[in-house]
Symmetry: C2
Subunit: 419 residues, 2 copies
């Protein structure tokens, strides 16, 4: 194949390590200058391709690109944008081909979750369906850990580590305060559909040092009486407890617990989080003093406490994506295959994109304890290696040295395109 340029873009919610994938991808592409010309990044994901808003990554130094490995967030901007099918919006695909042609792009790398895998799959079919030769490789990323086939998703391990560490720290805090003050701490974590992130809170309790933790999973319908019973039991035994609650927890009637129909003084409805709702349930049901926190973006941006496994895997996904493309693969995604737990060993596998796109991997039922409030040993065995190791960013004056790239635009060659 003649030398072609590559397109790379980041999609969906960003993570602490998606830039590590970008780093692995760009560094590896730079090692193959005979086959890959330039890596053009899409500014704000696929939107950058559609609007011909490309970033010339070669304008950033090797040092800056290397710093992506320890910089959270999406360095080129991300987007929440799902392309329709070829039949529904052929114009967009024709535009993509126009842009790819104009910039001699023969490789398409898309870094995202399930929706993005679908976009990548559609692009991979351009070759067959519209006669434009392109190799599309998906680079997995999602804190939700819900991509199929791969053992785990880059981005998840670091959120899991953040939640495990934060749950441990907050539990130590509430333990100190319980005698005369707060007895229950409620931490809201991400996870609309699957309880992977909430499960990580369970890692704070270990065989060596049991911690009183109650987990509320989106997979388990919220039962107020059972919940209060469990909190009461733990507070009686330990004097305190921590509740880790998924944002997506629902009651038996399928309503989000967070949606309590709150109205402000003017009667306007207010969207609160689920943490204050759960905290109020504890106060009203048991009369216990509480505190609550909502980790929100902090959990997925927390590169300062990223998991070393996660960083290494994210980097490897970017690197392998390039290597797969250079070997002629199209419509695939590198995966993480677990080889062993103790010691933790993994290798990179490959999955066909049509088996990945739009498939959501839920948490196995046997990862949740029978009472619905904890994680099983099987779950612990799965999660533990993913939070292993620390990979601290460099610091200057007390702050992490995160990089902002120059993100120099590639001169446009085409007219405008409205999306």
């Amino acid at each position: 194949m003649a030398k072609k340029n590559a397109f790379y873009a980041q999609s969906g919610g960003v993570t602490a390590v998606i830039n590590a994938s970008a780093c692995g991808l760009i560094e590896t592409a730079r090692q193959h200058k005979d086959q890959i010309g330039k890596v053009y990044a899409g500014r704000n994901g696929i939107i950058g391709a559609l609007t011909e808003d490309l970033i010339d990554t070669s304008k950033d130094t090797a040092k800056a690109i290397a710093a992506l490995r320890h910089t959270p967030s999406g360095a080129f901007g991300s987007c929440r944008f799902k392309m329709k099918s070829l039949e529904e919006n052929k114009l967009q695909y024709e535009r993509l081909i126009e842009v790819f042609k104009a910039h001699n792009i023969g490789y398409f790398f898309y870094n995202g979750g399930g929706d993005s895998a679908d976009t990548c799959l559609k692009v991979s079919q351009l070759s067959e369906k519209m006669g434009y030769p392109i190799q599309a490789v998906h680079v997995p990323k999602t804190v939700d850990n819900d991509l199929p086939i791969t053992d785990n998703c880059p981005g998840f391990g670091s959120v899991a580590k953040y939640i495990a560490v934060s749950t441990l720290e907050a539990t130590f805090d509430v333990a100190s305060m319980a005698k005369t003050s707060t007895k229950v701490f409620v931490l809201e974590v991400m996870g609309r559909h699957a309880g992977w992130i909430a499960a990580a809170g369970g890692l704070a309790s270990t065989a060596d040092a049991e911690q009183p933790i109650v987990i509320l999973f989106p997979e388990v319908a919220f039962n107020k009486e059972k919940f209060l019973g469990r909190v009461d039991e733990l507070v009686k035994k330990f004097g305190y407890c921590t509740v880790v609650v998924s944002e997506g927890v629902q009651s038996a009637d399928g309503k989000f617990l967070a949606d309590q129909g709150l109205k402000d003084a003017f009667g306007h409805s207010q969207l609160g989080g689920v943490a204050p709702v759960v905290a109020n349930i504890v106060r009203e049901g048991l009369g216990l003093k509480y505190h609550w926190g909502v980790a929100d973006y902090l959990q997925r941006a927390a590169r300062h406490i990223a998991s070393k496994s996660d960083v290494e895997q994210a980097y490897a996904m970017g690197k392998k994506a390039v290597e797969f493309a250079l070997k002629g693969h199209n419509s695939v995604m590198p995966t993480i295959e677990r080889v062993s737990n103790k010691p933790y060993k993994w290798k990179v596998g490959m999955a066909p994109l049509n088996k990945v796109a739009n498939v959501e991997k839920m948490m196995p039922k046997n990862f949740i304890t029978k009472d619905g409030f904890g994680i099983t040993d099987k779950c612990r065995e799965y999660l533990a290696p993913l939070i292993k190791g620390e990979d601290y960013p460099p610091y200057k004056d007390g702050l992490p040295l995160y990089v902002r790239l120059k993100n120099v635009a590639v001169p446009k060659k085409l007219g405008e395109f409205k999306i």
Copy 2:
């Protein structure tokens, strides 16, 4: 002075480094076994003294005590309990003397903030007012940074570092999402009366790398129009912004912004945080998509990202408290005196407790920018050294190795006492 035992207790909200003070104090006491017998810790602060619930710290190994240096929270339990004056509740003071006598306690160390300094002051007067010879030294601790005389308070630097790092990380995140999704991230931080912690969010923006950050201080009456104007301005310039809001922000009429009179579907009032309130104001006023987080206990328990300056100072406060007592001082508190900013140098000073108790140090007016939404260079100069350096705890299997002491009770010699 004949060899006496020491009493040590932790009081008020705990911090990431209050145990580092305990570590400094116990290790230093152990080096002076000729003068100090045992260090008895009060279980749950002064309550432990009143109820004769003492912990024999000598039952914990040197290794366990050393691990306190990197363990957040209060290892002996804290309390929120303010002793009344001698005139109002003489019984309590007589009880203290009874307990001190029974356990041969001649040194009293109390580790806390303003209220605790007041308790410590009262105990220091027992010698004079009730004829019981005791030396009372206060060990400063508070995330609120509101103790007078000392340049800063142990515990604050680590919260400040956590908030600065988290604000930086969340700002990177929202920057990535802004094109098609979230444009404003709101982070709620501690600070009922003073904006010290919120101010730390301002450190995320530096001369090298400006970040669009709006700070809402409790010192500045909330003005909705001005606030929306500032957010609008930053979003227009950068595409996004982060709002760091103190829990104690009030409107011009003196009401907490967090107290919006929210009612649930049953008409029960609900206490939410201030972050969702501010987020709603942004949505209603500017129609921008937002995310919000509430750091709550996570910020003050985050030993994993503690400031090295803070850990060293906390340790030094505990150590010096013992040395002051051994030199015969009573009714004093070690302080941190700033010697220079660049390089940051500090030394330990000494303050009389009657100048410390019940005095709240507010943030200087010239630390807040004229528009009320940012920090001045003067503030930055003050804050920057306090978040300097990292002091990571050791890890095992991905989690920090925080210690739980044995906390062996000292056999009781007296009857019960109701508090």
